[in-house]
Each structure stands twice: as C-alpha cells, then as structure tokens.
Symmetry: C2
Subunit: 399 residues, 2 copies
C-alpha cells in the first residue's frame, strides 16, 4: 500500500483522485501496489465528495505522517507551494507537481533537495499537460546533441490563433470565444502575454542545458499584437503564425525566448491546431521528433501526475536531471532570423529604401519577408522607417 | 567502464558506434559511465574502420567474456538473432535490439528470460526508429485505459503515398522514386505489402494488451492496390490515405490490423508526410497523444539503441512489460467502420441498388463513402455488385 497526499482539490487534484479510483486496475498493475489517497489538503470542505473524509486543512498533518511517501502538489502559484515542497522533500517524501510556476522558479533547489533526501521530485504535468515530454527528454534523448527544443506550449493562445486562421476572426473575437468556451481565463494575461509559455520554456531549457534561468530573463512576447491581416498574409505564402517557446542550444549560452513565429507548412508544428500543444526536439543524430497532445485539462494533467507516481513506485529514487541556477543567456539582440514585416500600402518607397528590393506578399499592405537579420538590425530598420513617417504595422519572426 | 558488444556492423551497427564516439560527452554525462565497445561481431572484416581491432567473427568470444554486460543486436532477421539473444540473456547480459522481426516473433520469451536472469531486454528502436515510443508507452501512459494505439509505422509506404498525394504520381512511379532515393529496397515487398508495419503493430499491441500475437495472425494489407484516383478522390473530400497499423483495445480481444485508411484532415496522423513515422495513443483520461519523427536511418535508430543503453546504465534491471503469447484477436469479419468504394462510372445503378442512396464524390468514377458497416457486410455488398457485372475498383476503410 502506497500512501499519498494531494495538496489542492481543484480541477487537477480531483482529476488525480478520479483517475486513481476509476483506473484502479491499471494503476495497481502498472505501479505494482495499491494507492491510498490518505489526505487531501484544501482550505474548503467537500461534504458531498466521496473523498470528504480525506480532507484536511493543516499541512502538518501530512508532513508529520511518516506513512505518506509521496505528496502531489497541484495547488498552483509559488506560495505556499514552495514552502510545502521544501518541507515535504526534507521530510523524505517524494513530491510530484503540475505547477509550472513553482517548477520554473525553484526546480534547481527542489531537485537538489530530492537528491539530498534520497527521494524524487517530478513535474511531467508542468509542460504539455498529459503529453509525455519531460520523461522522454530526460530518459530517451540526452545521448544526442540537443540543438533546440521548441514548442507550442500554451493551448489558449493556439486556440485563438487557430480561430483567427481558420475562421478569419480578429484577435479580440477569438479571445472572447476562447473565454466563452472556458479555454481562456477571465483575466487572460498569463496566456496571451506569453507568461505561461515562458515558464514552460524555462523548464524545457533547464532539462536540455542543465541550467535554470529565471522566466523573467527570457524575452517574452505574447500574441496581442497579431492582426488578422498578418494571419491572412501568412496563409498567402503557405505559413501559419504560432506562439513558440524556443531554446536554441547551439553556442556557449542558449537563446531562450517566447514569441509569435511564422512557420512554413513544412514544419510539423504548423499543423498543431486548436488547444493542442506540441514540443519538438532537434537533435543529432536523432533529427526532429515531436510530442503532441492536449496541453491542459483535468484528465490529461492527471494522467501525467499519476504517471510520475507510477515511475516513482516502479523505479524508486532515480538520478534526475541535474540543474544549476544560471543567468547565462545569449543576448537577444544578436538573435538572427528571417522576418515578416507589414507596413501600410503607401509606405512602399520607404520600405524599398529601408529593406532593399523585397517581394511584397499579395495583400492590401506592404507585407514582405526579409533575409536573415539580427534583432538589432531589425530595430535599426524599424527606427529608420518610422523616422520616414511609416512605423511598421507588424514584425513577426520566421522560424 | 561499461563494456558492450555490437552484433552486426551494418548501417545501424556503425551508427551506434559513431554515436557513442561522437557524442561521448553526452553519453558519459547521461549514462554516468564511460562506454567501451569491446567487440563488434560481423562476418566481414573492416580493415579501414577505426573499430577494426574490435571486429570478431565468433559470437562465443562475446558470450564467454564476463566483462561484457550488454549486447546490442542490430543484425536483423530472426536467425541467428534469436539464438544469440537467448544465449546472451542466459549469460546474464542485457540485450538491446533494433530488430523488429525478432521482437515481434519472440519478445515474450526474451522478456521472460531477462526477468529470470535479472537483466534487461529493450527494443525502443524496433518501432518508430528514433522516436521515443516504446519507453513513453511503458513508462508514462499505462495508468490510462488505452483504447487504441495506431500509427504510420513504415516510412517507405508513407513516402510513396505522400508522393502520390502531393505530385499526382502513380503508385508505380512513386515506388521507383522511393527506390532511386534509397527509401525502398530493390525488393520492396516487406514494406509495400505491410509486412514491416505488421511486425511493428504486433509489438505495440503487446505493450498495450500484454499479449504477443503472431504477425501472421494480423489482417495485413499493403498499399499496392491504391490507385492515384483514390488519392485524388480522398483529397476532394479533405482526406488523405495512409497505411496504418491499428490495435483497437476496446473489448475482450483486440482488433489488430494493417491496412490503408482514409483519414480526415482533422486527424493528427493525416499531417504526417514523407518518410516520417508517427504513433498515436488514444487513452482515458489522457485523450490523444502522438509521437512523431524519423522512423528509420542510421542516426535516429542509433539514438534509440543508445537511449536504451543509457536507461539500463541509469536504472539497471527494471520491471519491463509482462507479455504472454496469445492468439486471441477479435475476428476481422466483425470490424466495423465507414468505407470508401470506387466503381466505374457506368456502375451508378448497381451501386445505388447495392449501397443505397450514397453521395458520389466529384470524380470520373462512382466513388463514395458508406455508413458504418462490418467487413462481412462489405464483402457481401462487393459480391453482390460483382455479380451484377461491376467489381469494385477500390475499397478503403475510413478511420
């Protein structure tokens, strides 16, 4: 019998409890032992829940019970998730989380504490929801030279961009629709400003480089500036616009960023639609592999959390990724790529003077793709065009 | 120092040796130990190879060397791969393979022997080349109720179907092109008749159901009957034709098959083009997840083989999947789905009389999609139409 405690009985917490009950046969067969949900920590009571008798309000009840071997933290937010995680690890309990915020901010410390206390710290559900991403990267790919990990890491923004592309909706209309369907929060900032994706690329970056950056150090752009005209222009040249998190691991320090990118139809990520997420790894000699599925929701997230629990039960303590705190990141100013720009129609002369002899995409605007140039070059050109009276309507990088 | 032996110094064997040398830093960091390729078994000598001094011609040299802890079998074919694998496991050496034929035929015995001898038997490279598929299914997903595993498991046939779709080539022309590019063998039967895919779905099916079928018991159709007209008709209704291996795990015994299917554009598998492979798992509460990448080639296959080696070095013996030999398979006659049929133009009356009031796809033929019907129903209808003088030109199932 393996005794566990769940911290937080919201959507994910109740999804975890449901999975363990409904799939009991699979869980016992796979994990090799019965699982007993001994405690569920929440501020609220749930008198009508079948788990009503497991609800506790004091974390110390869990901490001081030596029979609880694993704590599942699905509260969200940095605090008190941080304090509870530290206390649980120091009490020699393994910790599993779906909380990307606390992982992105403190994974180095938690992983060190886990080693010190001979227990596990696992966080498969923190990136890509139910998609196995972290475990395959840690267990199956690291014999490669990993050149890049990139992904569509936020389902809400991908849903909005898909609606804009497929139904010709404006950003605002697509956001309202996502809110109506429950895919976007009433305050959608963490999604649409790229904050959620920045946490996730911080985590992926740490697995690949063994260095944990601060999400605040990562160049982060959301999708609020994407116009329907950009989506339409992209379609004209066989491209789609996707919000990507990227960690490019090709030099001394990685480029790590979150920004909208224009992807050609050849890119596997271009086909990822709606609320789906995908993570692509580019490695030698492996080539490109992609992991795809639902990036959120009670069921998928619970699958990832319980999958971590199964692995702890099967393998016990395992050498996890070793991750050190770092602020070494390649300067974004030198990040180079082709770029899409759009100016108003009457800017043609200024555009030619600034960007040279570009081919205009067939549209009502002066929209075009530049050759490869760095961020600082692009900034200079934007400044120069603006000085001539034409500020760019859009600037989107090309993958 | 971990001493290994490689059986077979062909494309995959030399890819494995190259990876271990070129990515030595990653391998040592990840696996936690230096790897020494002590022996390479091959009938040939390789005087110009940097590994010339490791070549041996007698398997007993490897078998009788107690310092060799892991044997990498990348010879292909059932024999002597079977005999070498049994002998190595009984000599308490772990075995890793990329050889789908020997896995599909004997995995139950090898896994049992591995447990008995407290060593590992691993075969990530046998399905999907470098794509992590087997490890994520074994380690990350089995807490779910797995309803289906299906995939594009053969790059050669997917390349041919993609060429037919994208360039309007006939099957024959696309096959010639695949042969010219080295994607298809001079004798392409194992690929185009679905034999290779049948071995792979046998393996995936064993992971999901814990029962190993014989590939011979699996209904297997290749792509040799697919006409350009079918591909074009599919495109007209927003579909693509893909050769799928499917294991549908919804009743007492699974339906397991290899056959071409028509996939709507909504299916993630429909977007898998060229030589790429993908495996999709449908599970509760996880939903759909897909693993995508290159399904063959020296580099990707070596990545999977060395990935297995890393896991053995990191975790030692682990409870693998338990797999029993079985012949319990759902009778294909009762397999039900919608179906695409094509008849010659003049068959319209016969078609209506046989299939009822179907909608014809805009083409030069009488092509249409039926409602859901079983294999036996479909066979009766084909027989009846044929008796009226019109044998179907095509019959393709719809996913």
């Amino acid at each position: 019998m393996t005794n566990i405690a769940i911290l937080g009985f919201g959507v994910v917490g109740s999804g975890v409890a449901d999975l363990i009950v409904k799939n009991n046969e699979e869980v016992v067969n796979f994990g090799g032992d019965e699982i007993n949900i001994k405690y569920i920590l929440d501020l609220r009571d749930f008198p009508d829940s079948p788990f009503a008798d497991r609800i506790v309000h004091d974390f110390n009840v869990i901490l001081n019970d030596p029979t609880v071997s694993t704590v599942i933290e699905v509260m969200g937010g940095s605090h008190p998730a941080y304090e509870f995680t530290v206390a649980a690890l120091n009490a020699k309990k393994s910790v599993i989380t779906s909380n990307k915020e606390v992982v992105a901010n403190f994974a180095d410390e938690f992983l060190r504490l886990a080693v010190k206390n001979s227990v596990c710290y696992r966080f498969e559900a923190a990136v890509g929801g139910g998609i196995p991403v972290i475990s395959p990267i840690i267990e199956c790919i690291r014999q490669n030279k990993i050149r890049e990990v990139r992904g569509i890491l936020n389902g809400t923004t991908n849903y909005i961009l898909t609606k804009m592309f497929s139904f010709g909706e404006s950003f605002k209309a697509a956001l309202s629709d996502a809110q109506a369907k429950g895919y976007a929060e009433r305050n959608p900032d963490a999604d649409i400003l790229g904050i959620d994706a920045a946490r996730k690329i911080t985590i992926l970056s740490a697995l690949v480089t063994e260095k944990l950056l601060s999400p605040d150090d990562i160049h982060t752009e959301g999708i609020t500036e994407i116009r329907l005209a950009d989506v339409t222009a992209a379609e004209k040249i066989g491209c789609k616009i996707k919000l990507l998190g990227r960690c490019i691991n090709d030099g001394d320090a990685p480029y790590v960023m979150v920004a909208p990118f224009m992807l050609s139809g050849d890119s596997a990520l271009a086909d990822v639609s709606g609320v789906y997420n995908a993570v692509e790894v580019v490695a030698e000699p492996l080539g490109n592999v992609m992991f795809y599925g639902r990036g959120a929701g009670a069921g998928p997230t619970a699958s990832a959390v319980v999958g971590d629990l199964m692995q702890i039960m099967r393998h016990g303590e395992t050498r996890g990724p070793e991750v050190e705190r770092s602020s070494a990141i390649a300067p974004f100013d030198s990040f180079s790529c082709r770029r899409y720009f759009a100016f108003e129609r009457s800017a043609a002369e200024t555009v030619k003077a600034t960007f040279g002899d570009v081919d205009f995409i067939d549209s009502d605007e002066c929209a075009f793709i530049t050759p490869v140039m760095s961020e600082s070059e692009a900034r200079e050109k934007k400044k120069s065009a603006t000085a001539s009276g034409f500020a760019p309507l859009s600037h989107i990088r090309v993958l």
